[in-house]
């Protein structure tokens, strides 16, 4: 551990290289987290099957690349397909748990996550797959910093999707309806908003965002039917840090997580990559709890 730290301090360029790559990867976490925050904020559901949506989207890109179609188009295709999957899931299961307590929703979406990963295993087999993108790598400083074009493209794409979402939520009638429902579902119903339709739209939108992120994952890393959990955990951490309904916060937290994770796995070793994320989660929750204890407005 200490020798790794020294190694990093001796090679500041490697540190920069890691951080840049981490930030670029972080854009994918931002997408997953944003979808999660949306569903959580509007429907009060913690969606455990985020990761499975990601992997399913990844398989869309995989098939595009297998059929010789540019997998970049797979991002759009995954978005559309997962929109449909999300809508169906809402109509089948999720509408039953909207008004229930958090525990019920966690249990239900956990069930969906198991079901989805097993189904993917049946259909796509347990093989590790990738989507080929054909993009190259830029080398800076004699190859000591490498910028993968695909990661840059993913970053840009994630930002575009994020921006489009902000505009959609702020300006479109449908977006306004979602926000109104989030603020007060009962009042929204009285004002004539079909909250059930809003929930369906929200859940489908979340699945679609995850699907797009998954297509990017298939082009940058690898996908495997059971590989979803890691993305759910990261999304959860980002939402916990940033809070609900705080898009700038989600972006900053997601990108920082990406960078922090890379540096941490360099120093502590790769086997602690996800353990680091969990550790952060615990620390942040404890910190929150302590701060909450000092607040005056809470009467005990």
């Amino acid at each position: 551990m200490i020798d790794n730290l020294i190694l990093l301090l001796e090679n500041p360029v490697a540190f920069v290289d890691l951080a840049i790559n981490g930030v670029l990867i972080g854009a994918i976490f931002v997408l997953v987290a944003y979808g999660m925050a949306l569903v959580w904020g509007v429907m009060n559901i913690i969606n455990i099957c985020q990761g499975e949506f990601v992997i399913l989207g990844g398989f869309v890109a995989f098939y595009f690349s297998k059929w010789g179609i540019n997998p970049m188009l797979g991002v759009a295709a995954a978005f559309v397909l997962l929109l449909i999957v999300g809508w169906i899931l809402y109509r089948l299961v999720i509408f039953r748990i909207v008004d229930r307590d958090l525990f019920t929703s966690i249990l239900a979406t956990f069930g969906i996550s198991i079901l989805l990963s097993q189904t993917m295993n049946e259909i796509f087999s347990a093989d590790v797959e990738i989507a080929r993108h054909g993009l190259g790598t830029w080398s800076l400083f004699d190859g000591r910093i490498t910028l993968e074009q695909i990661k840059l493209a993913a970053f840009a794409l994630a930002m575009v999707i994020g921006l489009a979402l902000v505009i959609y939520m702020k300006n479109s009638r449908a977006g306004q309806a979602i926000r109104a429902t989030a603020q007060n579902a009962r009042a929204a119903r009285i004002m004539g908003i079909d909250t059930n339709a809003v929930y369906a739209r929200t859940y489908a939108l979340n699945a679609a965002i995850c699907g797009a992120a998954g297509a990017l994952v298939a082009m940058i890393f690898t996908i495997q039917a059971y590989g979803g959990l890691a993305f759910t955990v990261r999304g959860f951490l980002v939402v916990i840090v940033a809070g609900l309904g705080n898009l700038p916060g989600v972006i900053i937290a997601g990108l920082s997580l990406g960078a922090a994770e890379q540096v941490a796995s360099f120093v502590f070793g790769l086997e602690y990559q996800l353990a680091f994320v969990f550790g952060m989660l615990v620390l942040i929750v404890i910190y929150r709890q302590i701060r909450l204890g000092f607040r005056r407005q809470y009467l005990r």
Binding site: V128, I130, R132, G143, F221, T222, A230, S265, G269
Partner: protein, 414 residues
């Protein structure tokens, strides 16, 4: 229910009666036929590899019988195998081994498919003092239990990538460097198999005095090796060894190419199951991959001829190229046949001693057992991806192609 119970009881009594009558005094030999038994997966998750195993066994039996059978004490005997389907579950495997031995009276067992099944069956054969020659259980833990009746023709897991270290030492000397100056980076998944492989690599690296500069463990949910590969970029080892099943193999090649990390030598397991050539084309070039066997090796024996003869015979019979699972299974039967001939009798103890004294060459490789029963004469084979094909490059003595080393930097690769 009651009827079923009665039927079952009846069957048990009948079986017991049959056993009482036909318990063989010495060994399971009917007329001029030697009966071998095996529980192999015909269904369940190992069904495919179980089929490869059975095909290997059957082909060997067929050829041995066609060439006059096994000569024991001046008389020729044919071989026959009794199979049961273990359904890919260890508990069933153990049960069937018990049945083969105590009910069917079989005295010589061939192994099942996979380390897990072998682990379940070995205690049974050990208890009954029945020799088992297995070909598909590579786990190191099989040979630390002090088993006396277990013999394995394949290389065990700690041998998987040890030949990469030997190869590195050879290359260092060829380039006028000392093997002791070589630096090695390790990235192994934290599971029993990969850690077995790692233990073997460490042992051999220590022998040459090579320095381990990176020793990272890969998590089971591995999906990003960036941090480890950045370390490789900074430390510049002479050899990077990766073992993380299909995912580790696929990820390592993708991210090495994407981040343009230069390593003169890259060795890994599971390249074939990750289908790295199909996935990456050019980016997979120069990669060294561990394998038990290859048809292009120059080993030979009297039954099958050379390794490539075996491959041709097998393909003609079954319509597909033999995977190494079939080759090692066929070799297990050859070892048994050889032991019978040298024992000159069917006394189980004598056959067991003959097995443990085995020292022969088969098309699959040399076979010689150490006291724990594992084959110490056959090294693992290393393939290298050359022009989109797997070519055997190590061990140098049996290799058909020359290694391409060092791997040129990415800036000079197309």
């Amino acid at each position: 229910m009651r009827l079923a119970h009665n039927l079952f009881a009846g069957a048990a009594i009948a079986a017991a009666a049959a056993m009482a009558v036909s318990v063989p005094a010495q060994a399971k030999v009917e007329g001029d036929t030697i009966i071998l038994g095996a529980a192999v997966s015909k269904t369940g998750k190992y069904a495919t590899n179980g089929k490869h195993t059975i095909n290997g066994y059957n082909l060997a039996v067929e050829l041995i019988n066609a060439k006059g059978g096994v000569k024991v004490g001046g008389k020729s005997y044919k071989l026959k195998i009794v199979y049961y389907d273990d359904e890919s579950t260890p508990a069933r495997g153990a049960q069937l081994a018990e049945r083969l031995i105590s009910q069917d009276g079989v005295k010589y067992l061939l192994g099942p498919y996979s380390s897990g099944l072998t682990k379940a069956i070995a205690p049974v054969t050990e208890k009954h003092k029945i020799p088992m020659v297995e070909a598909n259980g590579a786990s190191r833990s099989l040979f630390t239990q002090g088993y006396k009746y277990l013999f394995a023709v394949l290389s065990t897991s700690e041998q998987y990538l040890a030949s990469a270290i030997t190869l590195l030492a050879e290359r260092a000397q060829a380039m006028g460097k000392k093997p002791g100056d070589m630096k090695i980076a390790l990235a192994f998944e934290n599971d029993p198999f990969s850690q077995d492989v790692r233990a073997g690599v460490l042992e051999d690296a220590k022998k040459y005095g090579m320095k381990i500069v990176i020793d990272d463990k890969l998590p089971p949910e591995l999906n990003d090796m960036t941090a480890t590969l950045r370390k490789v970029k900074v430390v510049k080892p002479d050899l990077l060894v990766v073992s993380g099943h299909s995912k580790g193999a696929a990820l390592a090649i993708r991210q090495l190419a994407a981040a343009k990390v230069n390593v003169p030598m890259l060795a890994m397991t599971h390249c074939d199951s990750a289908q790295v050539i199909k996935k990456y084309n050019k980016a997979a070039e120069y990669t060294l991959c561990a394998s038990q066997w290859a048809p292009s090796l120059t080993y030979k024996d009297a039954v099958f001829g050379s390794a490539s003869d075996f491959a041709a015979t097998f393909e003609k019979k079954f319509g597909y190229a033999p995977p190494y699972q079939s080759a090692e299974s066929a070799a297990a039967v050859l070892v048994f046949a050889d032991a019978f001939q040298r024992a000159g009798a069917f006394d189980v103890a004598k056959v067991r001693d003959a097995l443990s004294a085995t020292d022969m060459q088969t098309f699959y490789g040399n076979v010689k057992f150490d006291p724990t029963g594992k084959n110490i004469a056959k090294p693992m084979v290393l393939f290298q991806v050359q022009d989109g094909q797997y070519k055997v490059v190590a061990p140098t003595k049996w290799a058909s192609s020359k290694i391409r080393h060092p791997t040129p930097p990415w800036s000079r690769r197309k």
